[in-house]
C-alpha cells in the first residue's frame, strides 16, 4: 500500500519536477532522465514519453547541439507556456503540501 501511494504521488509531481529542472537551464534527454531518477527514483525510461507529451502540449521545445564525441544532443528548453505552467504548479504544490503538513502535524 505504501508503494501504491508512493507511485501515485510521484506521478502527480513528475511534470512539475521536469519543469523546475528546465527552468534553471536547458538539459538534454539523458540528463533529464538521470537527474529525475536520482532525485525521485522514477525509471529513466519514463522520461522520454513524458518529454514527448510535454513537447506536444507546448510546454517545452527542442534544439540540437553538435557534440564533440558521438551524435548531436537534443536539448529541451521551457517555452513561455511552460513557465506559466511551472508557476501554477509550484503554487498548487505549496498550498497542497502546507495543508498536508498541517494535517500530519509536522512543522518545518
Amino acid at each position: 500500500v505504501t508503494d501504491q501511494l508512493d507511485v501515485q504521488l510521484k506521478k502527480g509531481v513528475l511534470e512539475l519536477c521536469v519543469l523546475q529542472l528546465l527552468s534553471g537551464q536547458d538539459h538534454y534527454g539523458y540528463q533529464v532522465a538521470t537527474r529525475l531518477s536520482e532525485s525521485i527514483g522514477m525509471s529513466e525510461g519514463t522520461v522520454y514519453p513524458l518529454m514527448r507529451r510535454m513537447l506536444n502540449d507546448g510546454l517545452v521545445e527542442t534544439y540540437l547541439v553538435e557534440s564533440n564525441a558521438g551524435p548531436s544532443r537534443k536539448y529541451y528548453r521551457l517555452t513561455e507556456a511552460g513557465r506559466t505552467t511551472l508557476r501554477h504548479q509550484r503554487e498548487s504544490w505549496r498550498s497542497f503540501s502546507r495543508a498536508i503538513n498541517q494535517i500530519l502535524g509536522t512543522r518545518q
Binding site: K11, S43, Y48, R53, K74
Partner: protein, 192 residues
C-alpha cells in the same frame, strides 16, 4: 553492443510494431542515444537497461501516448474508437468500469444512433408518403414535420458526438494518470 542493450532495443521495437516506421526509428534512436550517453558515463549496458525499466511496458505506454496525440490532432470517429481500444488494452481501467459502465455507455450510444437514423428516415418518409397520408394541416404541416425530424436528428447526432468526445478525452486523461511504468525499480525488471 551488448546483450542488455540489444535485448532492450529489440523488445522495444517488437512492442512498437505497427506504428509508422519513421516514428519507431525516432523512438528507438532516442533510447539508443541514451545507451551511448550512459556508456560514456561509464555505466554498463545492463545497468542502463535496468534503470530504463521494462521495454514492453514502455512500448505500450508510448503507443497510448501516440494514439492520444493522434486523437487530439484529428478527432475522427475512427480515431475515437482506436483510442478507446488502446486505453482499454492498457489494463489500467478497473473491471467495474470496463464491464458495467462500458456496455451501458455503448448501448446508450447505439440507441441514440438508431434514433438519429429513425428520425432521418421518418423525415424522408413523411414527404414521400405525403399524398397518401392526407394528414391534417395539409402539405405545409407535413413539410414542417419532416424538417422538424431532420433537425431533431441533427441535434441528437451533435449531442452524441459531444458525448463521445468527452468520453474519449476523459479516458485519455485517465490513461495518462495511470501509466504503470513509472516506478523505478528492480521489482519491475523481470516481468514481461
Amino acid at each position: 553492443m551488448s546483450a542488455g542493450r540489444d535485448n532492450f532495443l529489440a523488445s522495444l521495437r517488437a512492442g512498437l510494431q505497427g506504428l509508422p516506421p519513421r516514428t519507431v526509428e525516432e523512438v528507438l534512436g532516442e533510447y539508443a542515444v541514451h545507451f551511448d550517453e550512459g556508456a560514456s558515463a561509464n555505466r554498463s549496458d545492463e545497468e542502463i537497461a535496468r534503470a530504463l525499466g521494462n521495454p514492453a511496458t514502455l512500448a505500450e505506454e508510448l503507443r497510448v501516448e501516440m494514439q492520444i496525440e493522434q486523437w487530439e490532432a484529428r478527432r475522427t470517429p475512427g480515431s475515437a474508437i482506436s483510442t478507446i481500444y488502446r486505453v482499454a488494452g492498457l489494463g489500467v481501467l478497473n473491471a467495474a468500469l470496463l464491464f458495467v459502465v462500458g456496455p451501458i455507455v455503448v448501448l446508450l450510444g447505439a440507441f441514440m444512433l438508431i434514433l438519429v437514423v429513425a428520425l432521418l428516415w421518418a423525415s424522408v418518409w413523411l414527404v414521400v408518403a405525403a399524398d397518401s397520408l392526407t394528414l391534417p394541416g395539409g402539405m405545409t404541416a407535413t413539410l414542417l414535420a419532416s424538417a422538424g425530424s431532420i433537425f431533431a436528428a441533427i441535434s441528437l447526432a451533435a449531442l452524441l458526438a459531444l458525448g463521445v468526445t468527452g468520453l474519449v478525452n476523459a479516458l485519455a486523461r485517465y490513461a495518462r494518470l495511470h501509466y504503470r511504468h513509472l516506478p523505478n525499480s528492480n521489482r519491475q525488471g523481470n516481468q514481461s
